[in-house]
C-alpha cells in the first residue's frame, strides 16, 4: 500500500513548484509580443523611443525569463523523481510532446534570447526584429506542446492500454495533437499570458504617468498595452467559454463541481452565479441562478443534458464495480499471458480499468474490496466542490474586470487623454496582480478539478507517485521552499528596482532618473526624436 502521506506530499511539492513556475510563464508569453510590437514600430518609423521601449521592457523581460527557465527545469525533473509510475505508465504518450517541446520550442527561444540581448550592434534592424519574432514564436510554441501534454492528461485520446507492457501506448499522435481539449487550453492559456503582459506594461506605465515621469515613453507604452490587452482579454473570455464547452464533453465531473450542480437538471440547465455549497448534504444552501445559460455554454444546444454530481457518482460507482473485473483480469493475464479468458474479460472491461485501480488506495487485492470501499472510491471521484466553485468565479470576475479596464484604457487612448484620467491609471496600477491571481486560480480549477486522477479516468493520482521515502519528500520540499524563497526575493528586488528607475536605467541620458554617475554616452544622450 502506498502511504497517503507520500501521495499528499508529492502532490503538494508538484503543486507548489508548478504554481511558482507559472508566476513567470504568462508574463514571458505576453510581454514578448509587446516587445515584437514595439520593435516593429521602431523598424517601421525609425523612432529611437521605440527602440528604448524594446530595450527597457526587454530588461524586465530578461529578469522574468531567467526565473521561468530556472523553475521550468524542476518540472521536467519532477515527473521522473516524484512521479515515476506515472512516467512509466504514460511516458509513451506524455514524453513525446515534452521532447518535441525541447527540440522545436526551447532551442528556438533560448538561442534567440541571447541574440535579442546582445545582438543589437551586430545585426541589422530587420534581422534583430526577426530574432525577437523568433523568440516570441519559440516561447509560444513551448506553451503549445506543454498544453498538448496537459490536455492529454485531462482528456486522454489517441492511446490504448497494453497489458504486456503494463502501460498506455500511443495509437494516434494526430489525435493527441489535435485534441480539442488541448487546443482550447492552448489558446486560453496563451491569451491569458498576453493579458498578463499587457497589464504589466499598462500598470507600470500608469505609475510613471501618475508620477509625471517619462511621460512620452509611458504614454506610448500604455497605448500599445491597452490595445493589445483589449484584444487578448476578449480572446481569453471567448476561448475560456470554448474550454467550457470541451470540459462538458471530456470531464463532466469538473463542470458539475465548478457549478455546484448536484442534480441533473431539466434542459437547458441554469447557471449558478453565487451559492453556498453544502458538501455533506450534497445541495446548495443558498443560490442565485440565471436560467438556461449554463446549458447554452456547456452544450451549445437547448436539448442536451448536463449531468449533475449525484448522477455522476452513481455512474462512477458502476464503473468501479466493472473496473474490479478489469483489474482482476489484468492480474491473471500478467501471471499467464496465454490466459484467453482473462484477455477477453480485460477487453470487455478495459474502459473501466482506471476506475478499478481507484480501489488500490484502500486495498491491494481489489477483488476483496468491500461495498464500503467501493463507496469511498466512488466518493473520491468527485473533487471538493466549494474551492472549485469559488476559484472559478473569482477567475471569471477578474477576467471581466480586466476586459473593462482595457476597454476604458483603449477608449481614452483613442480620445488622446489616457494620461489624464487618474482613476484609470490607479485602476491599472492596482490591477497589476490580477492576471496572476486569475491564472493561478485557472490552473487550480484545471488540476484540482481533475482529481483523483493524474490521467483522467485512466490513472489515479494515488498510484502515480515514486516509491521514495517520506523523509526524502520532506527534505526536498524544504529545499524547494528555501531556494524558491531566495529566488523570489532576488527577482522581486530587481524587478521593483528597475521598474522604479524606469527607462533611465538604460543609461542613454534621454530619460528621467538617469544613473547620474556621468557615464551616460554623450552621443546617445542627444534628445530623442520622439
Amino acid at each position: 500500500m502506498i502511504p497517503e502521506q507520500l501521495v499528499d506530499l508529492s502532490r503538494l511539492q508538484f503543486a507548489a513548484t508548478a504554481m511558482y513556475h507559472f508566476l513567470f510563464v504568462p508574463l514571458t508569453l505576453g510581454l514578448v509580443w509587446l516587445l515584437v510590437i514595439m520593435e516593429s514600430v521602431y523598424v517601421m518609423t525609425g523612432k529611437q523611443v521605440y527602440k528604448d521601449m524594446t530595450k527597457f521592457w526587454g530588461k524586465l523581460f530578461g529578469i522574468n525569463f531567467a526565473m521561468g527557465v530556472t523553475t521550468g527545469i524542476t518540472l521536467e525533473f519532477q515527473f521522473g523523481t516524484n512521479w515515476a509510475y506515472y512516467s512509466h505508465y504514460v511516458g509513451d504518450i506524455f514524453g513525446a510532446p515534452l521532447a518535441i517541446e525541447g527540440l522545436m520550442a526551447f532551442f528556438l527561444e533560448s538561442t534567440f534570447i541571447g541574440l535579442f540581448f546582445f545582438g543589437w550592434d551586430r545585426l541589422s534592424r530587420v534581422q534583430h526584429l526577426m530574432v525577437t519574432i523568433l523568440l516570441a514564436v519559440g516561447s509560444n510554441l513551448s506553451a503549445l506542446w506543454i498544453l498538448v501534454a496537459n490536455g492529454w492528461m485531462q482528456d486522454p485520446v489517441g492511446a490504448a492500454f497494453n497489458p504486456e507492457t503494463m502501460r498506455m501506448e500511443l495509437t494516434s499522435f494526430w489525435a493527441v495533437l489535435f485534441n480539442p481539449t488541448a487546443q482550447a487550453k492552448f489558446v486560453h492559456t496563451v491569451s491569458a499570458g498576453y493579458v498578463t503582459g499587457a497589464i504589466f506594461v499598462l500598470a507600470i506605465s500608469s505609475w510613471y504617468l501618475l508620477k509625471g515621469r517619462d511621460v512620452e515613453f509611458a504614454k506610448r507604452s500604455f497605448r500599445i498595452a491597452a490595445a493589445f490587452g483589449l484584444a487578448s482579454a476578449a480572446s481569453v473570455i471567448v476561448l475560456g467559454d470554448e474550454s467550457g464547452y470541451t470540459v462538458t464533453e471530456s470531464q463532466q465531473t469538473k463542470l458539475a463541481a465548478i457549478e455546484a450542480m448536484w442534480e441533473t437538471e431539466p434542459v437547458p440547465a441554469g447557471f449558478t452565479v453565487v451559492a453556498v455549497p453544502n458538501e455533506r448534504e450534497m445541495r446548495n444552501d443558498y443560490a442565485i441562478r440565471i436560467p438556461y445559460v449554463l446549458g447554452l455554454i456547456g452544450t451549445r444546444s437547448i436539448s442536451k443534458e448536463i449531468p449533475g454530481i449525484k448522477d455522476i457518482l452513481a455512474k462512477n460507482r458502476e464503473r468501479i464495480v466493472s473496473g474490479i473485473e478489469a483489474v482482476t483480469a489484468l492480474e491473471a493475464l500478467r501471471k499467464d499471458r496465454n490466459d484467453a479468458n482473462a484477455r477477453a474479460a480485460l477487453q470487455r472491461h478495459q474502459a473501466d480499468l482506471g476506475f478499478g485501480l481507484l480501489l488500490r488506495k484502500y486495498t491491494t487485492d481489489v477483488r476483496k474490496a468491500t461495498p464500503e470501499m467501493i463507496d469511498r472510491a466512488a466518493a473520491d471521484t468527485i473533487p471538493r466542490v466549494t474551492p472549485l466553485f469559488w476559484a472559478f468565479r473569482v477567475m471569471v470576475l477578474l477576467g471581466f474586470a480586466m476586459l473593462a479596464l482595457f476597454a476604458f484604457a483603449t477608449y481614452y487612448t483613442l480620445k488622446g487623454s489616457c494620461g489624464e484620467k487618474r482613476w484609470l491609471l490607479r485602476w491599472a496600477l492596482w490591477f497589476l496582480p490580477a492576471p496572476w491571481i486569475a491564472a493561478e486560480l485557472g490552473w487550480f480549477v484545471a488540476e484540482y478539478g481533475r482529481q483523483p486522477w493524474t490521467i483522467y479516468g485512466v490513472l489515479p493520482t494515488h498510484l502515480s507517485v515514486s516509491s521514495v521515502s517520506i523523509e526524502s519528500l520532506y527534505g526536498s520540499l524544504a529545499g524547494f521552499i528555501g531556494f524558491y524563497t531566495l529566488l523570489a526575493i532576488a527577482d522581486v528586488y530587481l524587478m521593483v528596482r528597475f521598474a522604479r528607475q524606469g527607462p533611465g536605467s538604460l543609461g542613454t541620458g534621454r530619460y528621467d532618473n538617469e544613473p547620474g554617475d556621468g557615464t551616460a554616452d554623450p552621443v546617445a544622450a542627444a534628445p530623442a526624436r520622439a
Binding site: 515527473f79 521522473g80 512509466h88 514524453g95 521532447a99 551586430r122 502501460r167 530587481l494
Partner: protein
C-alpha cells in the same frame, strides 16, 4: 515504419548523440563557469569570461533539457527508474542548475561587489556540480544500481544516497569533471586574450592530463575490478518492452566483451585518448579552435566508451539483475519511437543551423573594451 529492433538501436545512438551534444555545448559553458572564479581575478575579467558564453548558455542548456525529454519519450522506464532512484543526486543537479539562469542574468544588474561575487560562486556551483554528479552516476551505472521492479512495474530503489559515492564512482566523477573543465578552458582560450587566455591555457593543459590519467585508471578498473552484466536469456530485440522477461548474470570482465566481439568499437575509447592528446597538443601550440574540436572528440570518445561497454545494458540492476534495463526492453512503443525519430531527424538540423548562425553573429574575442562600452547591457 522502420523495424522496431532497428529503431531501438537507433534510439540508443540518438540518446548518445544527445548526451554528447549536451557535453560539447552545455559542457563548455559549465567548464567556463567552473573556471570563472579562478581565471577571472577582478570584476572586469569575470565579466569578460561570463560574456564569452552570455549569448549562448541558455540555448546550450536546452541540450540537457532535450536529452531529459528524449529519455522520457524514448526510454520511459529508464527515466522513471533513474530519476526516482537517484532522487537526491538528481535534486542536487537541479538545485545547482538553479544558480545558472538567474546567475547570468542577475549578476551584473547591480553594482554591489558582494552581490556579484556571490553570484560568481553560484555560477561556479551551477557549473561544477552537475558534471561531477553525472560522472558519479555513470560510475554507478557501470557497477549496477540496487533497484527492482515489482509485478506492476513500479520501480523500487533499495540503496542509499551515500552508496553512490563509492571509490569507482568518484573516479568516474573526476573523469567527467576534468573533461568538462578541459573543454571549457579550450573554449575560453578561443574567445579571450591576455591574462585570462594564459590562465585558461594552463587549465586546459592541466585538466587534459588529469583526464588522461583518470580515464586510463577507470579503464583498468573496469577491466579488472568491476563485474559486468550479461543477458543469458530473453530480451528479444523485436519484442515489446518488458524488463522482467529476461534473465541476466553478473560476469566479471563482461564490460569488455563488446570490444572482443566487435573490434572496431575499440575506436571509441581510442577517440577518447587521441582527442585528449590532440587537445593537449593544440592547446600547447595555441591552436584554440582545433583544441576545442579535439576536446569535443575526446568527450564523445569517453561517453561512447561507457555506452559501448555496457551495451545493450543501460541501467543494470545489482540487487535484481533481471530488472536491469536494456536497449531492447525499456523503450517506448514502436509508434512513439518512430515518431520521435522523425522529430529528431527533422528538427535537429534546424537547431544546429541557427545555433551556428548565433555563434557566428556573436563571434570574436570578448575584450575589456567590450565590457566598458556595454557596461549596462552586458552580463
Amino acid at each position: 515504419m522502420v523495424d522496431y529492433a532497428v529503431l531501438k538501436f537507433i534510439w540508443w545512438l540518438l540518446v548518445g548523440v544527445l548526451l554528447i551534444g549536451f557535453a560539447v555545448m552545455d559542457g563548455h559553458d559549465m567548464g567556463v563557469g567552473t573556471l570563472l572564479p579562478f581565471a577571472g581575478r577582478n570584476d572586469v575579467e569575470r565579466r569578460v569570461i561570463i560574456n564569452t558564453i552570455g549569448p549562448h548558455w541558455d540555448g546550450n542548456q536546452v541540450w540537457f533539457i532535450t536529452a531529459g525529454g528524449a529519455l522520457f519519450a524514448a526510454w520511459p522506464l529508464v527515466y522513471a527508474a533513474a530519476f526516482s532512484g537517484f532522487y537526491w543526486a538528481m535534486l542536487a543537479v537541479l538545485w545547482a542548475l538553479f544558480f545558472r539562469p538567474v546567475g547570468f542574468d542577475f549578476r551584473s544588474k547591480l553594482e554591489a561587489p558582494a552581490w556579484r561575487t556571490g553570484w560568481d560562486w553560484g555560477l561556479f556551483v551551477g557549473s561544477a556540480v552537475p558534471p561531477v554528479i553525472f560522472g558519479v552516476a555513470f560510475g554507478n551505472l557501470l557497477q549496477g544500481v540496487p533497484f527492482h521492479f515489482d509485478d506492476n512495474l513500479v520501480p523500487h530503489y533499495t540503496g542509499h544516497f551515500w552508496q553512490l559515492l563509492n571509490p569507482f564512482a568518484l573516479l568516474t566523477g573526476v573523469v567527467s569533471f576534468s573533461m568538462i573543465v578541459f573543454h571549457g578552458a579550450n573554449y575560453l582560450m578561443h574567445r579571450t586574450e591576455g591574462a585570462i587566455y594564459a590562465r585558461a591555457r594552463k587549465a586546459s593543459l592541466g585538466f587534459a592530463m588529469l583526464l588522461l590519467a583518470s580515464f586510463a585508471a577507470a579503464g583498468i578498473w573496469v577491466a579488472f575490478g568491476v563485474g559486468g552484466y550479461a543477458i543469458t536469456a530473453g530480451a528479444d530485440p523485436a519484442a515489446v518492452s518488458n524488463p522482467l522477461a529476461k534473465s541476466v548474470a553478473v560476469v566479471p570482465g563482461a564490460w569488455l566483451a563488446n570490444y572482443a566481439r566487435w573490434p572496431l568499437t575499440l575506436l571509441v575509447p581510442a577517440a577518447g585518448v587521441a582527442g585528449t592528446l590532440a587537445g593537449l597538443f593544440f592547446a600547447w601550440r595555441n591552436w584554440t579552435l582545433a583544441a576545442f574540436v579535439a576536446s569535443s572528440v575526446a568527450m564523445a570518445g569517453v561517453i561512447g566508451t561507457a555506452a559501448v561497454s555496457m551495451f545493450p545494458f543501460v541501467m543494470p540492476s545489482s540487487s535484481d539483475p533481471r530488472s536491469s534495463l536494456t536497449v531492447w526492453d525499456s523503450t517506448s512503443s514502436h509508434l512513439t519511437l518512430a515518431l520521435m525519430f522523425w522529430a529528431v531527424v527533422i528538427l535537429m538540423p534546424i537547431v544546429i543551423f541557427y545555433t551556428r548562425w548565433a555563434y557566428r553573429v556573436m563571434g570574436g574575442k570578448v575584450t575589456h573594451a567590450y565590457i566598458r562600452e556595454n557596461r549596462r547591457s552586458a552580463y
